[in-house]
Symmetry: C2
Subunit: 301 residues, 2 copies
């Protein structure tokens, strides 16, 4: 390609403008207007809902969204209703400036960054009541968590009007809860499940990894090791669910600071415990490493 | 106006075609398509959600909707999730043919008539959890009722995509529950409250009036009489809430087959009991006349 200096300058300017022109939207009403304008222009909208402190996992969602939709919206909102008492709402890591830079670099069109009062008015009282899919796994140890997740996601859908929304598979149960809500409430959003992104040694990316001391960071690898062990058993044709659980528990028990919240082998759709492994299973676990609760899962098929 | 025979014939044909061209839509997917087509053509959509057995109250909603929107959708669905055990789901009156004729006569564009399996799939598990606004009055004696109402209305909104939805004020608490949901879930639907339509003697129109024997029909007038008494007290400047309740109860107690479910004087927004009447109040009651539970209310302002 041969460009004159003038052409190159114009192209560079256009590129720069596109990078700069990302809108940062703090208010729901303004976000609705922005989305309605996109719709009126016949543009598709993709939403990547996040709680900020963006890592490579989030960025992979934004890239995938960028490739598939006209308008990319990233929401950054640490949603209070999905945290229980004594959980880490107050110390959840934040990096507004870094998040906006990353969003801009990936060509995000709008970042929706409301504060809690924008999302929950003073007399807010209506919630999404989630069903059996939200009961096992994290639902059992974090009561109310998925009610909060589903409520905020429904609200984000109604504010942003996405054609597609992108979620990571590390939060596998969250994905199932949202898919179930979309089906049960007749929502017109295509829920796109994206692969878990891992560090080089296998640790699933998570904003909460920032809490880990170097020693804990090392011990945290036991989640991935346990899942890898489950995968090996599956490849070897193991059918007894208990043997998976024992093997995974054994690996985690080796770490002095790791405490099991749950270790489960479940049906990938219903999330009900599997005693006998047939063609498909999901190995899922939540482990507290020091003060930090980490989750991970692996689909066996 | 002077028309030739040909012009008159064409006009008549057009009129007839319009009457005939009402669509009857049994499936959610088909309804969604129809609504999306309207939207794509830039047409506004109005929804009148009903459980059928249409009376003059419903018809007033349809007329008001017809006057304000391009496309009028009436939904007819006896929603099982809003009936409690032992309530009248099985004997709720139905008149499909009469309903369709009335809708057609009023220029309805589409009637959405799903059966229960269209609305609640085999594994349906997500509901709308309603808050304090749903607790007093009918919420206290019909547990789960407003959860069912809010869930089906949310689903209807997502299927039909109305710009406006029309509800009668006889079901005053239902209206408040839906307004609250629309606010809390950021829905873009204008909820239009329409006046209660009454029989000549004052009885509020209701599909359930069909249950009443001639004698019960006569006794049923006690609801309106009690409300009228409350209105007279308000006009006379009565401020003590208890005096309203006593007066209304007294009128209802005169009827041998009338049994009070509740008689209340509440704040018209929060629906919380009012001990002292200031500038506004809602008198609301539910009375069982024979086997038939009737409700009515009157805004005092």
């Amino acid at each position: 390609m041969n460009l004159t200096w003038k052409q190159a300058f114009l192209l560079g300017g256009l590129f720069l403008f596109q990078k700069i022109s990302m809108e940062i939207i703090p208010a729901s009403a303004q976000m609705k207007q922005w989305s309605r304008r996109c719709k009126a222009q016949g543009k598709s909208i993709g939403l990547v809902p996040t709680m900020g402190y963006l890592h490579e996992g989030h960025l992979s969602l934004i890239r995938r969204c960028r490739a598939a939709t006209d308008s990319v919206v990233v929401s950054i909102f640490v949603n209070p209703t999905q945290f229980g008492p004594g959980e880490d709402l107050d110390r959840y890591p934040r990096d507004e400036e870094g998040d906006l830079r990353k969003c801009r670099e990936l060509g995000t069109d709008a970042v929706f960054m409301p504060d809690a009062s924008q999302i929950y008015g003073p007399n807010h009282q209506t919630y999404v009541e989630v069903g059996p899919v939200a009961e096992p796994l994290c639902g059992a140890t974090r009561p109310g968590h998925f009610r909060g997740v589903a409520t905020v996601v429904l609200k984000l859908f109604n504010i942003v009007l996405p054609d597609r929304a992108y979620f990571g598979s590390k939060d596998y149960q969250q994905l199932q809860v949202i898919k179930t809500m979309v089906r049960d409430f007749d929502l017109d959003v295509d829920v796109v499940a994206c692969q878990t992104v891992r560090e080089q040694d296998g640790l699933a990316m998570s904003s909460r990894n920032a809490y880990l001391s170097p020693e804990e960071r090392n011990e945290a690898l036991c989640l991935y090791k346990a899942l890898t062990r489950a995968r090996a058993l599956f490849a070897a044709g193991e059918t007894n669910g208990d043997n998976y659980l024992k093997a995974m528990r054994e690996i985690i028990s080796r770490e002095p600071n790791a405490e099991i919240d749950y270790v489960s082998l479940v049906d990938p759709e219903s999330l009900q415990d599997l005693e006998k492994v047939d063609s498909r299973a999901l190995a899922a676990l939540a482990v507290r490493v020091g003060r930090t609760r980490l989750i991970d899962n692996m689909l066996l098929e």
